[in-house]
């Protein structure tokens, strides 16, 4: 644990990526194999199930630090991270533990089955006998995801530096469903074992948003365009008579989409398809909101399957007849995909092809983009016909060219403090639009991105001076500031007070030039809902 806590302390002492990679690489060269596996797991958001719920942890932490619970809660709102708050309020200790990271995690795994009293005692003992960073790390391992400004990509780069194994190969090895409690470093990282790869997806190739006009991409004939679908990016794998569905978040979601079981007998073994899971109620593409009714559910009932079935909109082929074909040109991969599609497609099979469209001029491409909302896409994807399937977000061969977002001018009404690097700063805002009489502001969306750090600081200072009421962490503020809010999609919703749900709302601009009377109305917003 000492070494891991020291690593976190070092990572906390620099803002420079190269130094972070160096520190991590050094750790991967010197730590024990078991600890290394856990470190990889933690930094790729694989952690043991939470053994203690956070309510109990808050109660115990406030009791141990002899402060009232309300004061602990207030401190938590301001610090913005539970483990950090606990590490700060409990009386300092200079002690340190000789136990390894692996030992701690084994204990945390076993803790889940223990009685509440035993859990309390375990936390008590450790909180009091660990120094600040060890205590912070220990609590973080128990409370939740380990977001500390180190991405999985950065970790992989450091691991590559330490092991001299290619970064892309490592990314591939680290994907999927492995259990850090039983996996060895040799198995996970060093050794090549084909049977382990049965369920493994390939790292997704991601596109950047296009920066200039598409004309800058050169000859239009070298490019394919297709619509960019708004669902869940997924890989569907058929190997050895088994089906595996992976989401882009590297989550194995096979059980959530039983529709795809039909693929097993139709699609040959050794096939990996890249595509988008889309809701398909009433035999047409639904909204992302429809899909959300499927994402969160543990039990997929028959009723739900009937109401909101899903399809796979396929756009790429990564493995065919057991062979990794990512190096082949996109055009070639599409040929294979389309051939398979013609062979298996039927009304009953939830497999659709995302069509590629060839164009003679960029103007035609632009016109197709204008149609995006009509066909329920987010815009276009531009892919170079001769491009291989790369790993991660890369510039050059693939670009996304989204439609311009819908926008509306709304009034800032409530604010909440942010988390992580935004702790203690009011950065999470609620926005309202005028009702019919233009008398009241009706909440319609929350947004917490889109302003620069400097703008956030200004709004934060203003909020602190213009608070009307406090409701726990939330403050209502004097309606005064107008912001232009952008969003990707819009649909009617009975769950929202405004009767409207927006997709991915964010702040586009701070409209200092507008008075609140000039903000839009709810009617204006509803007029944007596609008929």
């Amino acid at each position: 644990m000492k070494q891991f806590a020291e690593l976190i302390r070092t990572l906390d002492s620099t803002n420079k990526t190269t130094l972070k990679v160096e520190a991590l690489a050094h750790y991967f060269k010197t730590a024990s194999d078991k600890d290394k596996v856990w470190t990889i797991a933690i930094l790729s958001h694989r952690r043991p199930p939470r053994p203690v719920n956070t309510r109990l942890m808050r109660e115990w932490a406030s009791a141990f630090s002899k402060i009232p619970l309300w004061l602990f809660e207030e401190s938590y709102h301001i610090v913005g991270d539970l483990a950090e708050t606990i590490a700060l309020v409990i009386p300092p200790s200079e002690e340190s533990s000789e136990k390894s990271l692996n030992q701690f995690l084994q204990e945390i795994i076993e803790l889940k089955a223990r009685s509440e009293e035993e859990k309390k005692e375990y936390l008590y003992d450790n909180w009091f006998s660990l120094n600040y960073y060890e205590r912070f790390v220990f609590t973080k391992l128990i409370t939740g995801s380990f977001r500390i400004g180190v991405s999985q990509k950065l970790m992989t780069r450091a691991l590559s530096k330490a092991t001299e194994i290619d970064e892309d190969i490592l990314a591939y090895k680290l994907m999927g469903n492995w259990d850090p409690a039983t996996t060895t470093f040799t198995d996970l990282v060093l050794e090549e074992k084909p049977e382990d790869y049965l369920s493994k997806p390939y790292p997704f190739y991601l596109a950047y948003a296009i920066e200039d006009e598409p004309q800058s991409l050169g000859d239009v004939k070298e490019w394919a365009a297709e619509h960019k679908w708004d669902g869940i990016r997924s890989q569907v794998i058929i190997r050895n008579g088994e089906l595996f569905v992976w989401s882009r978040g590297e989550e194995l979601v096979t059980d959530k989409y039983p529709e795809f079981e039909k693929f097993i007998n139709l699609i040959p073994d050794g096939t990996v398809i890249d595509g988008e899971i889309l809701p398909f109620p009433k035999n047409e593409i639904g909204t992302f909101k429809d899909l959300q009714t499927r994402i969160g559910r543990k039990n997929i009932t028959k009723k739900l399957l009937e109401k909101t079935p899903v399809i796979l909109k396929a756009y790429d082929m990564l493995e065919w007849k057991g062979e990794d074909i990512r190096e082949k040109a996109y055009q070639k991969r599409r040929e294979i995909l389309e051939q398979l599609f013609t062979e298996v497609a039927s009304e009953e099979i939830p497999l659709h092809l995302s069509s590629t469209i060839s164009f003679q001029t960029w103007d035609e491409v632009a016109k197709e983009r204008e149609r995006s909302r009509e066909v329920k896409s987010e815009g276009l994807m531009l892919k170079r016909w001769d491009s291989p399937y790369l790993v991660g977000r890369k510039k050059g061969d693939w670009w996304k060219w989204k439609v311009d977002p819908l926008t509306i001018d709304a009034v800032l009404t409530y604010a909440m403090r942010g988390h992580g690097r935004r702790s203690n700063l009011f950065t999470d805002y609620t926005f309202g639009l005028w009702d019919d009489e233009k008398e009241e502001l009706v909440t319609f969306a929350k947004a917490y991105s889109g302003l620069t750090d400097a703008e956030f600081r200004k709004v934060d200072a203003w909020i602190k001076k213009n608070t009307l009421e406090r409701f726990g962490p939330v403050r209502s503020v004097t309606p005064h500031h107008v912001f232009e809010i952008a969003f990707e999609g819009i649909a009617e919703s009975s769950r929202h007070k405004s009767g409207v749900a927006t997709r991915f709302p964010r702040i586009l601009r701070w409209r200092k030039d507008k008075k609140i009377e000039e903000a839009n109305t709810l009617e204006d917003l509803k007029a944007l809902i596609p008929k």
């Binding site: 700060l88 400004g149 702790s423 200072a461």
Partner: protein, 334 residues
Amino acid sequence: MKTPLLVFNQKGIYCEAADVYLDPWKPVKKAIISHGHADHSRWGHQQYITHHTNVPIIKHRLGDIPVTGKAWNETFTINGVKFSLHPAGHIVGSSQIRVEHKGEVWVFTGDYKTEDDGLAVPYEVVKCHTFITECTFGLPAFKWLPQQQVFNDINNWWQQNQDDGRTSILFGYSLGKAQRLLKHLDTSIGKIYTHGAVENMTEVVREIADLPPTEKITRDTKKEDIKGNIVIAPPSTHGSPWIKKMVPYVTASASGWMTFRGARRRRAIDKGFVLSDHCDWQGLLTSIKATGAEKVICTHGYTDIFSRFLAEQGYDARTEQTQYEEENAEQTSK
């Protein structure tokens, strides 16, 4: 009901019996000033009264103002109200202001800290009935380490950066924090360079306190000379073109706000040292208790939370609005 000895009005903290303001934020006839930071000593008053060590500091900031210097514990009477200044330990020349009238004693802390920083005259407990306290760091999450430990960390950091061939840039407010840092840097490691704003203020403070030699960075300063040494600069220089001369460098901030990992991360500073010129949670509670005050008025900081806690502890506690900059993690200077 009689008028309280001190009231909070549009212009500042007002003593009607003496017709005097304490740290007013609007121009007034007569002002007693706790210390030299801009939010407490503002421009435009007809008469200033402050501790004599603060006189050169506010003259440097505000020009040739009509100011009278007083000694510690020297009682001066205005319209029958007795005033005296007592060390607050916040920065050089900072005082608490004691006000006594008809047997009733109030103390206004200005800003203060309980630890002896080796530069400012250390904080002194002043018994009173009503204590007006700042509570900038009035949360149990704030706990300061003894400064020697923090300075050991700072000096080790500097040494390490030098070994790595990098220049250390340490951000601190020009008045107060900058001199405290200077005072405790280990000059056997290297030379201390300063930004102009820090250098000018340090020159003023040298009249009052003994500080190690510093060199101002000017256009003529050679890049090679700075390398591996330490630079003390105001936080506003972070990310400015001025700093480019120091490449390759590592940045750090020394402030109470560095307690929060998020505060350091969003300012894109490499290293945070938790070092403050204000009281931490325990420091506030201990000093309030030591004054023997029954009534406590909380001004700037986490006032609502802090006064609620005090009320639960049995104090007659409330908050008052002031225009002392609601110092927060975004100005990681003090």
